[in-house]
Amino acid sequence: MIDVSAGELMVAQAAREIRDGEKVFVGMRLPLIAFVVAKRTHAPNAVGLFELGLVRDEPAAELLYTMGDTANVDGAMWCGPMLDVMGMLQRGDVEAGFIGGAEVDRHGNLNTTAIGGERQRPAVALPGSGGGADIASLAKRLIVIMPHDRRRLVERVSFITSPGYGDGPGWRERVGLPRGGPSVLITTLGVFRFVDGEAVLETYHPTASLDEVRASTGWEPKLARDVRATELPSGEVLDIIRGYDPKGFWTRRET
């Protein structure tokens, strides 16, 4: 079939979500590679912010396993307190941020805290927010990336770690969030765009199908009028991805 992994498709789509000149909370894993792709293609002036206290406008010279790898500090333009980076985020200086989650619902709320049971004795304990909830609360635009199955794309998340649109339009304003909300949900099977606070399927990956997306989603997904296959990455983009992650540590891992 098509020799592109779901991870590579996700990276390519994520890269398209970064606009030139934007300040982006890059996070780690796939978004980190998306930042590399964006910088080397259509967004040469994008700047990456890393919540542990780094700002850089050139991607690290080697594949990162964490944002704190020494290679991510080499060449940084700014290095210091998390508070300053989070402060820029809260001020509204950051255009976009990436996060993932264990569960997401149709309104883009994410759960990375716990599933089932009580918070102090859950059925499944997840690692927690990290900076995810902050990015979801405060970035102008949130880009969500996650594996796609019915246990993950659920009608309603059991715990809102990172706020999306709550129960729909107007909710963010009501709870006091100053801006933002998810703009896109990129999964292993397709791409949802948020319209009026709800995920609308825009494309399904050529590695998947519309039926597979429907069957793997915990709610009946709205479809865009022109729902279509996700654009394949160009050869140039695939070369960048594979050059940066030659062993496919992030782009071909089991999810």
């Binding site: 790898d69 020494t70 508070l83 809260q90 805290t113 690692p127 006091g176």
Partner: protein, 289 residues
């Protein structure tokens, strides 16, 4: 000025930690995590600790698995490049080896809680986490209204750790500690704490510190012990000194899927290892790279 603060890791842990205390550690996020200190806490069998930090990579997981922990006040507990933290899961899901309490934060709220502690403010108002379930789970925040513009704010109360542990490239004998690389919430945590223990890759003369005082993260006035402990952060990285040992994290992830696996790992790498020098000898020749 004397050298009374200079000591060994075992002595620092013996003298400046006690059961039940709160310890802020791993404050720079992925780099400069004082694993050597955590291992010594485990060897000295400290119990009922409250761990405070943003994320901790697997340091919190190890202390939880070893039964040292009563409460985790953190934004994230897991294994950054490998995924979940198995000990954390077992403790929360099954109470193994003991039940722990989680006080949920985000990275920004724990930063603000320690900032409040550092500057002596009772709280810091923020707009993060409005609409999130974290404030309810945490239980210590208060929602309020800004009297200046009527907008909703979340008040994050100060967190005041009993102790902060800082690993860094260099410090002098008074504890003036210089950290190169991302600081995360190290400075806020150190200034918020009652006392600070410093693990330095190198203890250097004062003149090296005062040649670049802008790099001093915490002044020695807060520091009670200075330990020269090379490679104290392995497997996490220390900028300019050594990189992250990714494979070690992944091996830990695979080895600790079961409680028995963790116990074996702990015996192998911590309890049967008398000190950091022995740990490093055991790592050789694969590391340092």
């Amino acid at each position: 000025m004397g050298t009374a603060k200079r000591t060994t890791l075992a002595d620092a842990v013996a003298r400046f930690t006690r059961d039940g205390m709160s310890i802020a550690i791993g404050l720079a996020l992925e780099p400069a995590i004082p694993f050597a200190f955590a291992h010594e806490l485990i060897r000295q069998r400290r119990r009922d600790l409250e761990l405070i930090g943003p994320i901790s990579d697997v340091l919190f997981d190890q202390l939880i698995g070893a039964g040292c922990v009563r409460r985790v006040t953190a934004a994230w507990v897991g294994n950054v490049s490998a995924g979940l933290g198995h000990c954390y899961r077992r403790a929360l899901e099954q109470g193994v080896p003991r039940r722990i309490e989680v006080r949920d934060h985000s990275n920004f709220t724990i930063a603000q809680a320690l900032l409040a502690g550092a500057i002596g403010a009772p709280f810091i108002p923020t707009r993060t986490l409005l609409g999130s379930d974290i404030p309810r789970a945490n239980g210590t925040f208060r929602e309020s209204v800004s009297p200046f513009d009527g907008t909703t704010v979340l008040l994050v109360p100060a967190v005041l750790p009993d102790l902060a542990v800082i690993a860094c490239q260099r410090a002098d004998e008074e504890g003036n500690a210089q950290l190169v690389g991302p600081w995360g919430i190290s400075r806020e945590g150190a200034l918020a704490a009652r006392e600070v223990v410093v693990l330095a890759e190198r203890v250097v003369p004062r003149r090296e510190i005062s040649s670049a005082p802008n790099l001093t993260l915490v002044p020695g006035t807060k520091v009670v012990a200075v330990v020269e402990e090379p490679f104290a952060c392995h497997p996490s990285p220390l900028q300019g000194a050594y990189p992250r040992d990714h494979e070690f994290f992944h091996e830990y992830h695979r080895a600790t899927r079961t409680r028995e696996g963790f116990d074996a790992w702990l015996a192998d790498w911590v309890t049967a290892v008398p000190d950091r020098a022995a740990y490093l000898a055991k790592l050789a020749p694969r590391w340092p790279p």
